[in-house]
């Protein structure tokens, strides 16, 4: 839109910008600063100085304990993400094949866990996985087991909960990605002799993989930082990033240390992304150089 008043767009974004600045950027800035400041016991205002004490405590003094927590978190998140990724593909494909009301209905269903929130889902899982819950009750009455399987308070329960939580987050973008594929591609593959699964794994999957991987990264991130699900399903016995962050922040109230604990993974993430982009651009440059050389040789 061409208007003579240049300040109009800035006026339009002003409310969002202010809110984002005050309630998003500044708190994060404070988080970073706090992680380098010194904790003053009994007060929630740390001493303004520059110290690496918090990180030292995190990674060296209590290193084994906290690194083990990070490790557990990574492990559980990786397992949950991998399973979510695999099971989401068939479901996403099935939904993308539907039309009209059936498709809308399934999308509505898929949205429920997402917007219903983790709390509500977790309650349902407790009902399912408790020692006197549905799964154990079913298995016992069918005489398949003698003693109830311990899901709650164990890693298995947490992972199951994590897998289910984010299936919609994986499925919905995949449905969109599959929807934007040219439907004739599949027909073309069939006309050249490909069977159902061949076409799926050689055409559909590769073409939707970029979108799927992007969704997978988001799911992985969500699993890493999940709080309610591990907290309630783990019954406090499975310490992961989210639950320990809560403990440090609310119960222990050592803000500088809590900040360091929360930021350390983020720092790794940011460094990882920078490295990833650097590798990507190196690969691109190598490919271009290769292509140029080929061109020169051919000419």
């Amino acid at each position: 839109m061409n208007t003579t008043k240049k300040w109009i767009p800035y006026l339009l974004i002003s409310l969002s910008a202010v809110l984002l600045l005050v309630f998003f950027l500044i708190p994060f800035g404070q988080l970073v600063l706090y992680s380098f400041w010194e904790n003053v016991p009994g007060s929630n205002i740390p001493k303004v100085t520059f110290t690496l004490e918090n990180y030292y405590h995190l990674l060296v003094e209590e290193g084994p304990y906290y690194l083990k927590i990070y490790g557990t978190t990574l492990r559980l998140a990786a397992i949950a993400t991998a399973v979510t990724f695999c099971v989401s593909y068939p479901l996403a494909w099935y939904i993308s094949q539907l039309k009209g009301m059936a498709k809308s209905f399934l999308i509505i269903l898929m949205m429920l866990p997402m917007i219903g929130g983790a709390m509500i889902q977790t309650l349902g899982w407790i009902i399912m996985l408790s020692p006197i819950g549905v799964v154990n009750g079913l298995l016992t009455s069918l005489h398949l087991i003698d003693t109830p399987i311990r899901f709650l308070g164990a890693e298995s329960g947490v992972v199951i909960g994590l897998i289910q939580s984010y299936i919609p987050m994986m499925v919905l973008p995949l449905v969109t990605a599959m929807g934007s594929l040219d439907p004739n591609l599949d027909s073309a593959a069939r006309s050249l002799g490909a069977g159902f699964f061949t076409s799926f794994f050689r055409i559909t999957v590769p073409l939707t993989l970029p979108g799927a991987l992007a969704g997978g990264v988001l799911v992985f991130l969500a699993n890493l930082t999940s709080f309610v699900t591990p907290n309630l399903l783990g019954q406090g016995k499975i310490p992961v990033f989210g639950t320990v962050a809560y403990t440090q922040g609310i119960e222990v109230m050592n803000y500088p240390f809590a900040s360091a604990f929360a930021l350390f993974p983020m720092a790794i993430l940011v460094v990882g992304m920078i490295v990833y982009k650097w590798i990507l651009s190196r690969m691109r440059r190598a490919r271009q150089a290769g292509a140029e050389t080929e061109g020169r040789l051919a000419a």
Binding site: L12, F23, L31, L123, L172, F227
Partner: protein
């Protein structure tokens, strides 16, 4: 492998996965109707509405619902007032900082909520507004804004940009153009995003747990507190079942009216 067999296998897998995804919600309804004092399976005393009654007569839950509705409603209003103009600016104007604001809005949605909650906790405690109503509302508005911006951007892309130019050429001021032409056309997207924003704020159990303090307890925080206390609380289960039902009905009505599923 034949076409039909392949499709059937995928359909079966899909059904199982769907079942798995919806399982907790289904279980919620099972538990809500249980007549027992605590949940066991198989149900010993059959079905009953006692827990619904208990939930509806619980003063704590009623209070928490009131808090949640107030907070989420306010956050949604603020989120819409902030998000709609922002989306419009991003789509229809080119200005320095356009990419920045776009990235920031999207970042606030993808950034892990727990880390943000800790940052907010520390920030609020420094400002001594921990546990305040306003603080909660403003923080929640940031939950709403990205949903609004995303959906309104999507709605705007469905409108032919020249329609606004046509209005201008016919003598309408930019403001008139926005209200008479753009708004009516993006209204469905705005309403749907408002709905989603409201629900996201209503069901938030992370940010609220960290910053809502003792006085202003939202519905999810109340559930959380009950869980930590006595284990599986069937009152909470019944309440959650009601909420889910409301959401389902609202989703279906919304779909009928606005066909929002195409925005996803």
């Amino acid at each position: 492998m034949s076409e039909k067999a392949g499709r059937r296998i995928f359909a079966v897998i899909s059904f199982l996965v769907l079942l798995f995804t919806m399982a907790p919600i289904l279980m919620l309804f099972l538990g809500a109707f249980s007549a027992d004092n605590f949940f066991t399976f198989p149900l010993r005393n059959g079905l009953s509405l006692r827990w619904f009654k208990a939930f509806l007569s619980s003063r704590e839950f009623a209070a928490s619902l009131r808090v949640s509705i107030t907070v989420s409603l306010s956050a949604t209003v603020i989120g819409l007032c902030a998000g709609v103009p922002t989306a419009f600016a991003i789509k229809r104007f080119s200005f320095r900082g356009r990419d920045t604001i776009n990235t920031m809005v999207m970042a606030s949605m993808t950034l892990p909520r727990v880390i943000w909650a800790i940052a907010l906790l520390q920030f609020y405690s420094t400002l001594h507004i921990l546990g305040s109503y306003t603080g909660l509302i403003l923080a929640h508005s940031l939950l709403v804004i990205p949903y609004v911006v995303r959906m309104v951007l999507s709605s705007l892309s469905f409108i032919n940009a020249d329609v606004e130019n046509a209005a201008l050429s016919l003598g309408a001021t930019p403001v008139k153009t926005f209200f008479k032409i753009t708004m009516p056309l993006i209204a469905p997207g705005v309403i749907v995003s408002g709905f989603f924003g409201f629900v996201v704020s209503f069901t938030d159990s992370v940010v609220a747990v960290f910053i809502s303090g003792v006085r202003n307890i939202t519905f999810p925080v109340r559930i959380y507190a009950e869980q930590r206390g006595q284990g599986l609380d069937l009152e909470a289960v019944a309440g959650s079942a009601i909420i889910i039902l409301v959401i389902i009905v609202a989703e279906m009505v919304g779909e009928k009216l606005f066909k929002w599923s195409r925005f996803i």
